[in-house]
Amino acid sequence: MFRELRQSVANDWGGGRPPAVDEDREFLERKEKMQDLEQQLSTASQQAEALVKAQQDIGETMGQLGLTFFKLGKFETEEALYNSQRTRATDFKRLATAAIRASRSYRELNAQSVKNLDTLHEYLGLMLAVHSAFSDRSSALLTVQTLMSDLSSLHTRAERLEGAASKIFIVDRSRYRKIEELKETIRATEDAKFCAIREYERIKENNRNELERLDRERRVDFLGMLKGFIINQIGYADKAASVWAQVVEETSRYAKERE
């Protein structure tokens, strides 16, 4: 690891701030995957919302249709002069009842779907935490790199001063003092560097653990979400099928008449 750091510092020999580039390949891959995941989560989260809305809309319209037919049935019953009207009124009411029941099933499905698919929104939200974990790591690395760069220039200055001092035979008190101060600064910076490296390592370890935990939990939660989603859809569909099967049976004589 130190090799990597030295490498990136060496690349920026001119001093100044090196870019906070981490060449830990495993980490980079993970980071890219997280970015990809975030994008897909964002899209999936949006589409999930749109799906829930579409389900809500169709349920509502089904309910309104039922209500309209119920009113039609009532009207025909009140105005009936012929038996054909009374029969039709009954048919209207049957359809209305089925439509209203189907609408209710949709409403139940929707409430469940919202809860299910919320998992997507949750994990999208968690991406924020991942971001801040990554930026913590970046700034920790930047701190380390900055300190190393500082250290490097301090060493250079120290070498220059000592080199110059060794060429002059007269002991220059001021220059000597400067060298001592510089050596003190170097020691302090070395300490800071070790602290920064320790901190960086700590953050890296945390990140790795957290990412692994995130992956584990996400896997479990997503599987649960899929299962829940499918089970709810099946529950709704079975209910709807039985509601409409009844109407098919009740109106079957009209089909036969045509044949």
Partner: protein, 405 residues
């Protein structure tokens, strides 16, 4: 396609006792099919094949195929409306407000279906099926048809009714002034009033129902679209996750896309077999309203003529009393007017009688039509629900595998 059975005296030139008739039921069945877009740009139109299968002697042979366009159907409807007052003429699909070259496949199919239903209703109506205009429509070649159709301003415009209209306008003013009536004359028949009220309210109810049905079609399409989008997004998410979880996502996404297609299919089924019958119902009610206008006109005509005839009679008596030389002329005019008045009364009464029969037919037909529409609607919804349940159910074993791995 509805096969018709013979009603007694349905065909004037065919003897019901003839051997051919007693051996086989007379039938007339028509199909409207194969819509084809012809012409270019603004002059584009859709042509249809109209296939007639019949054993009626007025018709040329067992099967005849002609090419017709929408305006030919309109011609037939107008002619029938003109000649068969009192009968609820089967409705036609509306003229399109959209540019002809923008006709969608869906619109063309809806129109074809509506035209097929129209022509079959005409062909199975006991009165209308005897129409000479129907025979022309079903049998004549395209040039003859076009000539008939474009001959709008011709002999068909000059009807006795037109003359009566002129007469009525002049005389009714006199009558109103003389008799002190300012309001337009209407029937006062409580039963008929009830019917009018029923028809108008029914139209409102049905228009609302049709609107909701159309909205439901749209919702199915929208749900289908969002399922498809959701499926795609879930698949991408799965590709990102990888492993068995990724695979589970991918399967879910595929199923979503599969169900999206089923929803689009059901949307189309709903449109053709549920929404369109409702729209047809609305049109039928509007046709009844047109007949009601005819009845009101006929009533007013016979009423005005009756009043005018009375006045003429009074005037005639006066002239005869005075032994005027104008008495002879007046008597002639009076006799003519009386004949026309009686004719107008006959026309009005015919409409009343026809309407009462038509209403019974209408109610019965609509119960059958709606029953079938509801059956198709329920069938489609049940089928869709089963497809949804089956599709999702098939994923459960795959999911179980995922969570155990």
């Amino acid at each position: 396609m509805i096969s018709t059975t013979s009603n007694s005296g349905s065909s004037s030139s065919q003897s019901p006792r003839s051997p051919s008739a007693s051996q086989q039921q007379p039938f007339l069945s028509v199909t409207v099919t194969d819509p084809v877009k012809l012409g270019n740009g603004v002059q584009a139109y859709i042509s249809y094949r109209v296939i007639t299968k019949t054993n009626l002697p007025e018709y040329q042979g067992q099967e005849k195929i002609v090419i017709r366009r929408y305006s030919d159907f309109v011609w037939l409807r107008d002619r029938l409306a003109d000649k068969y007052k009192g009968i609820f003429i089967p409705p036609l699909p509306e003229k399109s407000t959209v540019e002809k070259f923008r006709f969608s496949a869906e619109f063309i199919e809806m129109r074809r279906q509506a035209l097929d239903i129209f022509i079959n209703r005409v062909a199975s109506h006991p009165e209308l099926k005897q129409s000479e205009d129907l025979r022309i429509f079903l049998q004549e070649d395209e040039e003859t048809m076009e000539r008939a159709r474009t001959q709008e301003t011709g002999i068909f415009k000059k009807k006795p009714a037109d003359f009566m209209q002129l007469f009525k306008d002049v005389q009714s003013k006199v009558t109103d002034v003389v008799l002190g009536k300012e309001k337009p004359i209407e029937e006062s028949n409580p039963e008929y009033e009830k019917l009018k009220h029923y028809i108008f309210e029914l139209e409102d109810h049905l228009a609302e129902a049709q609107k909701q049905a159309f909205r439901l079609v749209k919702r199915h399409k929208e749900l289908g679209q969002s399922l498809s989008d959701f499926g795609k997004a879930i698949k991408l998410l799965g590709a990102c996750e990888g492993d068995s979880l990724g695979k589970a996502f991918s399967e879910l996404g595929s199923k979503s896309e599969f169900l999206s297609l089923k929803l689009q299919k059901e949307a189309h089924n709903l449109l053709m077999n549920f929404e369109e019958p409702l729209k047809d119902y609305v049109r039928a009610v509007q046709s009844i309203k047109a007949t009601m206008v005819d009845r009101a006109n006929a009533f007013r005509q016979q009423y005005d003529l009756a009043e005018t005839t009375k006045l003429k009679e009074i005037n005639l008596d006066k002239l005869m009393l005075m032994r005027s030389e104008r008495a002879g002329e007046a008597e002639f005019e009076y006799k003519e007017l009386k004949a026309e008045s009686e004719e107008a009364t006959r026309r009005y009464q015919s409409i009343v009688k026809l309407m009462s029969e038509e209403i019974v037919r209408f109610q019965e037909q609509k119960t059958a039509d709606m029953g079938l529409a509801f059956h198709e609607f329920a069938k489609g919804q049940e089928r869709l629900a089963k497809e949804i349940a089956d599709a999702w159910r098939s994923l459960i074993p795959k999911l179980e595998k995922c969570s155990s791995s």
